[in-house]
């Protein structure tokens, strides 16, 4: 099949031949059917020409004539010409035909007056030199005529009048959200569309990748909480002691370390034959050894060495952040009256801190808990790229670099949704921790 036809069918399948939204704002000169043009460079050319002249119908004539010129040109066959012409060499003919084709393509993709004139003069030159190109003559004259009409058109004022085009429900957004009742079910019914890269459903792709990212972020957040809460409690308890000051400084330094630096440092130190080759450099499994039939525990055992460095990188940042919040929260609580009361009535220090103070100091760090959900879907792009972990981060990163919009939009949608969910969970947890908070 002709590549253009394949492209047209693909566009139809993906719904790209539709307008983007229910309506669009443009000016009086533009056409409301411009979105139907397939080639984005042609589209840009037409848009700009219309913007310059203010007369869509003339631009459209010009474009159609150019296309027909291109069609006539395509029918030219150097071999046939060579057989009917005796005095010219095949190479010369080929070159002339190719150059004219090249200029026609240029014309379709440029809206700059000077470049158009340049192409015109080059084609003119070829047409007058080689008689075998005469079949192009009439069409080319028309093209020039239309271009001239565009130039002298005095409809520039039309570009200053805004116009709102209404497309109705036949648009990409509607299709994406509600589907078309046939092959597309729409986002609301759980269909995220298909990827531009490999035509697989987005949801399948996400399900394949999200597991690893989610486990990583969950493990690291849990670890971070496990380490940071005791540290925070301890340094608040021993406030201004040498240990507290030491902890504060170390945490502050950790907090300022960029994760990509830490990740690379870990690789440099622990996954490098020059230093210590304790851990593998990249991936999450050894493809030569890994067997999908393995039991869950064997898999975990096999993957463990691959995951240790990423987990450390994942964890340390949130750990430093959480410890600092925890410490501040704890200090705040410990200085309050009811803690003094608890101490005054003779409770042991352990009981005061762990029973009375801890619960209230948990409030600030709950907020952070809300962040893990969106982190799982977006993955931590940088960390996954450093350690070549085949998770959501790398997936999203690649889809961004490849302009795979359905994937990008899906990730944005889901992470937006999950952020909201995270806020909700945090709000509920607030109420659990602090009975004074209620949402009635």
């Amino acid at each position: 099949m002709h590549p253009k036809k394949i492209k047209a069918e693909l566009r139809k399948k993906l719904g790209l031949d539709l307008p983007i939204f229910y309506f669009s704002v443009s000016n009086l000169s533009t056409s409301d059917t411009l979105y139907r043009i397939q080639d984005k460079y042609h589209k840009a050319t037409l848009e700009h020409l219309t913007h310059k002249s203010g007369n869509w119908s003339k631009v459209s004539d010009y474009y159609k004539e150019l296309l027909s010129l291109q069609k006539v040109h395509m029918k030219l066959n150097s071999k046939d010409i060579f057989e009917s012409q005796t005095e010219l060499e095949l190479n010369t003919i080929n070159e002339a035909v190719n150059q004219v084709g090249f200029e026609i393509n240029n014309l379709l993709e440029t809206s700059e007056g000077e470049l158009i004139d340049l192409s015109f003069s080059k084609i003119d030159d070829k047409l007058s030199n080689y008689s075998f190109l005469s079949s192009l003559n009439s069409s080319f004259e028309n093209v020039k005529k239309y271009k001239n009409e565009i130039n002298i058109s005095e409809d520039k004022w039309r570009t200053y009048v805004p116009k709102i085009n209404w497309y109705g429900s036949k648009n990409q957004y509607h299709l994406w959200l509600f589907g078309n009742g046939k092959d597309r079910k729409g986002l609301l019914r759980g269909d995220f569309g298909i990827s531009y890269i490999d035509s697989q459903p987005i949801s399948t792709k996400i399900w394949q990748k999200i597991g690893i990212s989610f486990s990583l972020s969950l493990i690291s957040i849990l670890l971070a909480y496990l380490i940071s809460i005791p540290i925070g409690i301890y340094s608040a308890h021993k406030k201004d002691s040498a240990v507290d000051k030491g902890f504060s400084l170390v945490l502050f330094i950790l907090y300022s370390m960029p994760s990509f630096f830490v990740g690379t440092l870990l690789l440099l130190q622990f996954a490098n034959p020059d230093n210590l080759a304790w851990f593998p450099v990249s991936g999450i499994q050894d493809p030569t050894l890994f067997d999908p039939e393995w039991s869950f525990w064997t898999k975990i055992k096999h993957r463990m060495p691959f995951l240790i460095l990423p987990i450390i990188t994942y964890t340390y940042g949130s750990f430093a952040f959480l410890s600092r919040i925890m410490r501040v929260g704890m200090i705040d609580v410990v200085s309050q009256d009811y803690i003094r009361t608890a101490r005054a009535k003779g409770l042991g220090e352990k009981k005061v801190i762990l029973k009375h103070a801890l619960r209230n100091s948990l409030l600030p760090i709950i907020t952070v808990f809300a962040a893990i959900f969106p982190m799982a879907i977006g993955g931590s792009i940088i960390i996954e790229v450093i350690f070549s972990i085949p998770g959501m981060g790398v997936e999203v990163y690649n889809s961004i670099l490849n302009y795979d919009y359905p994937m990008i939009i899906t990730v944005f949608t889901i992470s937006g949704f999950l952020t909201m969910l995270g806020y909700l969970v945090a709000d509920i947890l607030y109420a659990v921790v602090d009975p004074r908070i209620s949402y009635k």
């Binding site: 704002v25 443009s26 000016n27 700009h48 913007h51 570009t159 200053y160 805004p162 502050f252 330094i253 907090y255 300022s256 370390m257 960029p258 990509f260 630096f261 690379t264 440092l265 690789l267 440099l268 996954a271 490098n272 020059d274 450099v281 600092r324 410490r327 501040v328 200090i331 969106p374 982190m375 977006g378 792009i381 940088i382 790229v385 450093i386 999203v396 990163y397 961004i400 670099l401 302009y403 990008i408 990730v411 944005f412 992470s415 937006g416 952020t419 909201m420």
Partner: protein, 442 residues
């Protein structure tokens, strides 16, 4: 206040005294100054062209001249001897009578073809001397921090990277602060039920906004694109023109609304400006910022300025929230009420009375924001997107190190540079928080 000497009490002085007590923060402040000096003087600290050269009797200042300069060198009898093209001359091979080199005699993007393939700082380095022989590099011309795969000097890259980093922090947070403080102040001061205007004026403002966007940005999109593709300056001028058109359209329509005298439409109505701003903040916050920035930088042209602008326009939410919260508090204080009851305009009350008293906590958020802007830029460069390949940044150097773990100097030094800069900003932000807002002291 009662215990203090109220006559000479100034908040600025008090805050500065508090800040000075934190010795580490003070050191950080000095370090920041030296970073700024380093950034400003970068072309004279790391440059392959000498600062001063006496060449065949000519006194030249190549490092201070523009790169495209050419000098004609004449012999003593007046004949043309040679032409020095500043950008392609290999200055190291010239026979100078007297020469003062920059402390680091390499430029960040020139490739030293005798020291390709990751030459280590301590390893053997080659050098082509005046006679054209390849020898061990003399200590003046050693790459003191090593080179990368194509022979670019790391030390020069780091020095020039300081420029980029500081500029990213400054420009992007400048943009973010402008947007954030403006929107936050409007939202906080007016809330949902304080900004009243006749219904017709409200509607006409919206219409004016539509027309302003149409003429300023829709109609001028080719002018804007051309401007930005020519140079960043002309692009900025076009952008200013567009914003001017936008403002003019809104002003015009607000004026027109006065001409319509229908009682029903002249009723006062509330403008829920707080709702607009707060929902906008939530909308932007629900999108993972790094993902958004990567997506935008992947689509648009690669340029350091565009990266700064994107970081700026995605980073204003925190500042806006702080400003809003602060103004919500301040607008009920006596001095603002006094200003209002004196009949000052809202503009004057906000910008002359309320806002200056709200800026302390906002300043802290800006300082933290600068650290995160630098972090984001180096993260982007580390991923190899956003900043063009020919611009050397700390992140791109670190990326080179990641691809070749043997070149530890490409990991340690740029990483430390990023880390130290971020620590400095965080320390200063922390200390100024303690100084400006004692309630938050940790």
């Amino acid at each position: 206040m009662s215990t203090q000497n109220t006559e000479n009490f100034s908040f600025k002085k008090y805050a500065w005294n508090q800040f000075k007590k934190d010795k580490i923060a003070l050191v950080c402040l000095y370090l920041l100054f030296s970073l700024v000096v380093l950034a400003v003087l970068a072309p004279y600290i790391a440059n392959e062209r000498p600062l001063y050269a006496d060449y065949k009797g000519y006194k030249l200042y190549p490092a201070f001249a523009s790169e495209s300069r050419t000098d004609s060198i004449f012999k003593s009898d007046g004949k043309l001897d040679e032409i020095l093209q500043y950008d392609i001359t290999d200055w190291r091979t010239l026979d100078f009578n007297k020469v003062v080199w920059a402390p680091i005699p390499y430029s960040p993007s020139t490739m030293d073809r005798y020291n390709r393939d990751y030459v280590s700082p301590s390893g053997k380095q080659r050098f082509k001397n005046k006679n054209g022989e390849i020898t061990d590099a003399p200590s003046k011309f050693r790459h003191k921090l090593g080179t990368d795969g194509i022979g670019r000097d790391l030390a020069a890259g780091l020095i020039h990277g300081t420029r980029i980093s500081l500029m990213v922090g400054l420009v992007s947070m400048g943009i973010a602060s402008l947007i954030g403080i403006f929107l936050g102040a409007l939202a906080g001061f007016f809330g949902d039920n304080k900004l009243k205007m006749p219904r017709i004026k409200y509607y006409f403002t919206l219409i004016g906004l539509f027309f302003g966007l149409f003429y300023g940005f829709g109609h001028r999109k080719y002018a804007l694109a051309d401007g930005f593709s020519n140079s960043i300056m002309s692009g900025m001028i076009e952008l200013m023109l567009s914003i001017l058109v936008l403002v003019l359209a809104i002003v015009l329509f607000r004026f027109l609304s006065k001409l319509i005298k229908v009682d029903k439409l002249q009723e006062e109505t509330f403008v829920p400006i707080d709702t607009f701003v707060s929902r906008g903040i939530e909308l932007l916050n629900s999108i993972p910022r790094l993902l958004l920035i990567i997506t935008i930088t992947a689509v648009v042209e690669r340029s350091i300025w565009i990266v700064m602008i994107i970081i700026g326009i995605t980073g204003w939410t925190g500042i806006a929230r702080f400003t809003r919260a602060e103004l919500l508090r301040i607008r009920s204080l006596e001095f603002v009420q006094a200003a209002e009851s004196l009949g000052y305009s809202a503009k004057r009350t906000i910008f002359k009375h309320a806002l200056p008293n709200a800026l302390a906590p906002v300043f802290i958020s800006i300082a933290f924001g600068i650290a995160s802007a630098i972090l984001i830029e180096s993260g982007l460069s580390f991923l190899g997107i956003g900043v063009p390949d020919d611009i050397v940044t700390w992140g791109s150097l670190l990326n080179l190190g990641r691809q070749n773990l043997e070149a530890w100097w490409l990991i340690i030094y740029p990483g430390m540079a990023i880390f130290i800069t971020i620590t400095i900003y965080n320390m200063i932000a922390e200390a100024s928080r303690d100084a400006l807002d004692p309630r938050l002291k940790s």
